[in-house]
């Protein structure tokens, strides 16, 4: 091949680079390893993490059972090793699954349109907020303190230079739901959106109907966020919200130490043009048969450049595919039953414990540690191969005597009993 292009050595391929930019030594990295050694290495690293622990951690990353089919489908090379479906004629597989994904997300959220995925729930927050800014022409964002603390941090990072402030409003010390008075006092004519999360970070269900009324009264949009997608199996879809954004990790993806996950954004038809991210639409092929393709890309960076609705390009397609398979396997009945098991397990876990908040909850809730420290309780649990809940002091100093506990369909009764004992 070298001969064919008239070169003598591979080094000639970059002989034209200016000398001063060249690396004139080998990379300081060990020589290549075999498959066997690589598997061995990661196996050893994995074993240094928690293996075989029962976990009661939630807080934005949930351990749900993963139907085997999710990996079976996502492991097929035709999906795994294909690119963004720009060439519709040879990507109908991916395009069809995204169209199904968009549809199911709409069905779950009660919205009209949904995109093909965002990076994750935390980045969906600023994307939704920026969308609201574009829609309303206003600049102020109101974010509930019940919104995942890390989501709020990300929101702040993105908005630092968006020209408008991100103002937080509090939660009701008794119920754990948003503080209506505080919210109302901060709503004004420049408010673009109100961001709430339900179930919120404390696991409490928010009253989105009332929040929507309030926001709309001031001409702001309501952004309904969620970090536990399974809750949508039982909760009323937030029909009055203007934008629904959240995290689908619960659908088939393991906690995986924080990523990759998949965010979603869904909204009403009328806001479609302001939606960020990729969209798949139905159309016809030249034989007149139904076909799908990427569409409305005039919103996107590769066409609109600095005027795009977002800078997102690569998204989380494969995770979205896993979620699509997950939703297909569980289906209408299954998703409801799954949610119901989460609800029941969490309420079993909560029974007898000193819950900090009174609001209804789904599969997470906050408990007081009464005397003991959260750390002490978790330490005793660790000895029994149980990863306890999240001590809240880190994110809410005022709740430093509280722990956020989560139960899912994977939580076994005997482990829950052990946890409960630790709190009594």
């Amino acid at each position: 091949m070298l001969a064919a292009i008239g070169l003598n050595s591979l080094e000639d391929l970059y002989a034209h680079l200016p000398g001063e930019v060249l690396l004139n030594r080998p990379l300081d990295l060990p020589p290549g390893k075999s498959e066997y050694e690589i598997i061995d290495y990661f196996r050893r690293q994995g074993d240094r993490n928690a293996v075989g622990y029962a976990s009661f951690l939630g807080a934005g990353a949930y351990a749900h059972f993963r139907p085997v089919l999710c990996d079976v489908v996502a492991s097929r090379g035709e999906f795994l090793t294909s690119y963004t479906p720009y060439q519709a004629e040879m990507a109908q597989g991916t395009l069809t699954t995204i169209f199904e994904f968009q549809t199911m997300v709409c069905q779950l959220t009660g919205m009209d349109v949904a995109n093909a995925s965002m990076y994750d729930g935390s980045t969906a927050a600023p994307e939704a907020a920026m969308m609201a800014v574009r829609v309303t022409g206003r600049h102020k964002i109101l974010a509930s303190r019940g919104l995942h603390p890390e989501y709020r941090t990300v929101l702040g990072t993105y908005f630092r230079y968006e020209g408008g402030p991100v103002v937080e409003f509090g939660y009701d010390a008794a119920t754990g739901q948003l503080d209506w008075a505080d919210l109302e006092s901060k709503l004004d004519g420049d408010t673009a959106a109100v961001l709430i999360q339900s179930p919120n970070f404390f696991g409490c269900i928010e009253d989105w109907k009332r929040a929507a009324e309030l926001a709309h009264k001031h001409g702001a949009l309501l952004v309904y966020m969620f970090s536990e997608a399974v809750s949508l199996g039982l909760l009323e879809p937030p029909r009055d919200a203007d934008i629904v954004a959240g995290e689908l990790q619960s659908f088939a993806h393991p906690p995986s130490y924080g990523g990759p996950y998949a965010g979603i954004i869904a909204t009403r038809e009328k806001f479609l043009r302001q939606l960020p991210g990729r969209l798949v639409g139905e159309t016809k092929d030249s034989n007149g048969n139904r076909a799908f393709c990427l569409t409305l890309s005039t919103r996107e960076q590769h066409i609109r450049r600095e005027k795009a609705t977002s800078n997102i390009c690569t998204n989380q397609a494969l995770i979205a595919l896993m979620a699509t398979v997950f939703m297909s396997v569980y289906g209408k009945e299954g998703l409801r039953e799954l949610a119901h098991q989460n609800l029941s397990k969490a309420h079993y876990l909560a029974s007898g414990l000193d819950r900090r908040f009174s609001a209804p909850f789904f599969n997470e809730f906050v408990v007081r540690t009464n005397g003991k420290t959260p750390e002490a309780i978790n330490a005793t649990l660790l000895e029994q191969k149980i990863a306890g809940g999240l001590p809240l002091g880190r994110f809410y100093p005022e709740l430093s005597d509280c722990v956020l506990l989560c139960a899912t369909e994977m939580s076994k009764r005997e482990h829950m009993d052990t946890v409960r004992k630790a709190f009594l």
């Binding site: 993490n49 934005g60 709409c106 924080g258 690569t314 995770i319």
Partner: protein, 489 residues
């Protein structure tokens, strides 16, 4: 009932919603081992049902997605020469190790004492990327390239602010990828367009003319999007630095440099890497990716938190980062993708990574040589990892780059990148990557030549392509004119 509109079942797969019928189930849950709670009571209101949600059996699920997968083209089926996308082989061992139990089930909030393996993996990857790019510090938090760009520009802004003035403008060559300007805008900068010179490269003189005390940074891609190494890059970075501005490098094309040149050695202050390109993590039909950002020491204090910190005998997460720009994503990044990237680096090792780069250059230049007699080349400087042609010669006969691309499908290949970069009118952007064999390259060259001839002898054949796919030309205009974005009963 899904009728066989076309004979073979693989010719008309219905949507899940059309296969669905009441009562069908594909799941089974364990019996509830605790008292069942009444949803309405516990939650106030519970939804009646998920309207129109599918109900299908397990075998229908596997068939549906297996059949759909057969409509896709993929790296596992053949060459995927998308310029700028670095579609290389995705080693399957990476998928295997990403599913290591202790890693895939690690919860981001589990105690550090139970996360040492995960942190070790990230630390290893950070140091490898620093060595490969010649930079001082790394954040693995960004979820993709564009996300890394945003992180990088925010870092620049934070540094300038710390120096007293964030400045107003970011200079971006007209050849840049759309994410560059889109990103600068989100970071609150106005974008200033830098016209490329006759070689499609940055013109130092022109740049010097543009830079002033309002200039925050230059976002440069090197090799640039026409596959040419910016030979004046050192001069370019000097110009920026001399004006107190910084240099951001878009590292999407890093596959051309690994092991032979390091951005840290030619003045780049900050850059992102697309681990899903250079480091072989699969694109999965559009993602997930990872846009690790590497920086020079002066930008380190501003990196997103948390940062890995080495204690005497363990790793911990350091949240005490007063100057940090904050977080660009919850938790620590796309960990599962990071595992794959590290596995790729381990499998190649230092020598292997350089060899991969050389093979990538070789393959791109072999293709260039093979077809340059048949397609126009707007810029003739030596190519690195990709080569860019224009459709001018074919357009004169009424055939555009998009048509040639569709015809290429008939020859069994995924098309090259169409009409990017914008500075090339009707671009054909071809990046074979190092993992293609000479046999595959020769088939591709054969096909490109055959098509060039078809354009002369039988343009209609090309204009109506593809002819061999189950789905002929798809009407994208119709899709955009009246958008149907979801199935409805």
């Amino acid at each position: 009932m899904p009728g066989k509109t076309r004979q073979h079942i693989s010719q008309n797969e219905s949507l899940l919603f059309e296969i669905s019928s009441p009562g069908k189930q594909g799941y089974q849950l364990p019996d509830l081992d605790v008292p069942a709670v009444d949803p309405a009571e516990a939650l106030g209101a519970a939804r009646a049902e998920i309207e129109d949600f599918p109900e299908v059996s397990e075998i229908e699920v596997i068939r549906h997605f297996t059949r759909l997968s057969s409509w896709n083209y993929a790296i596992d089926l053949g060459m995927f020469p998308l310029g700028s996308c670095t579609m290389k082989y995705n080693p399957r061992v990476n998928e295997h190790v990403a599913r290591t139990e202790g890693l895939m089930w690690a919860h981001p909030y589990q105690p550090a004492s139970l996360s040492q393996g995960a942190m070790e993996v990230m630390a290893q990857l950070e140091s490898a990327l620093a060595e490969i790019t010649g930079m001082d510090a790394v954040t693995l938090e960004p979820a993709a390239g564009a996300h890394g760009e945003l992180t990088g520009v925010l870092l620049i802004r934070a540094l300038l602010e710390a120096r007293g003035n964030p400045r107003k403008r970011v200079i971006i060559p007209d050849s840049a990828h759309g994410t560059n300007p889109a990103t600068a805008a989100i970071a609150g900068y106005t974008v200033e367009n830098l016209k490329s010179n006759a070689e499609g490269a940055v013109d130092p003189a022109e740049l010097a003319r543009l830079v002033n005390d309002d200039t925050a940074a230059l976002m440069v891609t090197n090799p640039n999007t026409v596959g040419i190494f910016e030979k004046d890059i050192s001069r370019v970075t000097e110009i920026m630095h001399s004006k107190g501005a910084l240099v951001y490098m878009d590292g999407a094309n890093m596959n051309a440099l690994v092991g032979i040149a390091r951005p840290g050695d030619f003045g780049v202050d900050v850059m992102h890497l697309n681990l899903h390109k250079t480091f072989s993590t699969p694109h999965g039909g559009g993602g997930p990716g990872s846009g690790a950002v590497v920086v020079k020491k002066h930008l380190e204090p501003f990196l997103p938190f948390p940062r890995l910190k080495r204690l005497a005998d363990a790793w911990e997460w350091d949240y005490d980062r007063p100057q940090s720009i904050g977080k660009v994503r919850a938790f620590y990044g796309n960990f599962g993708v990071l595992i794959r990237a590290l596995a790729y680096i381990m499998a190649h090792g230092g020598p292997g990574l350089k060899q991969a780069t050389l093979d990538a250059l070789l393959n791109a230049n072999y293709i260039r040589k093979g077809i340059e007699g048949y397609y126009d080349m707007p810029y003739t400087s030596p190519s690195m990892h990709e080569c860019v042609f224009s459709h001018d010669r074919q357009a004169a006969l009424g055939v555009k780059t998009g048509d040639i691309a569709k015809r290429l499908i008939d020859y069994g290949f995924h098309p090259y990148t169409v009409s990017f970069p914008l500075i090339v009118h009707g671009a054909l952007m071809i990046e074979p990557t190092e993992t293609e064999s000479k046999q595959e390259l020769d088939l591709f060259i054969e096909a490109m030549i055959a098509i060039a001839k078809e354009v002369e002898t039988n343009p209609k054949l090309v204009l109506d392509a593809p002819h061999c796919t189950r789905t002929p030309r798809v009407d994208e205009v119709l899709a955009a004119r009246k958008p149907v974005l979801r199935w409805k009963p």
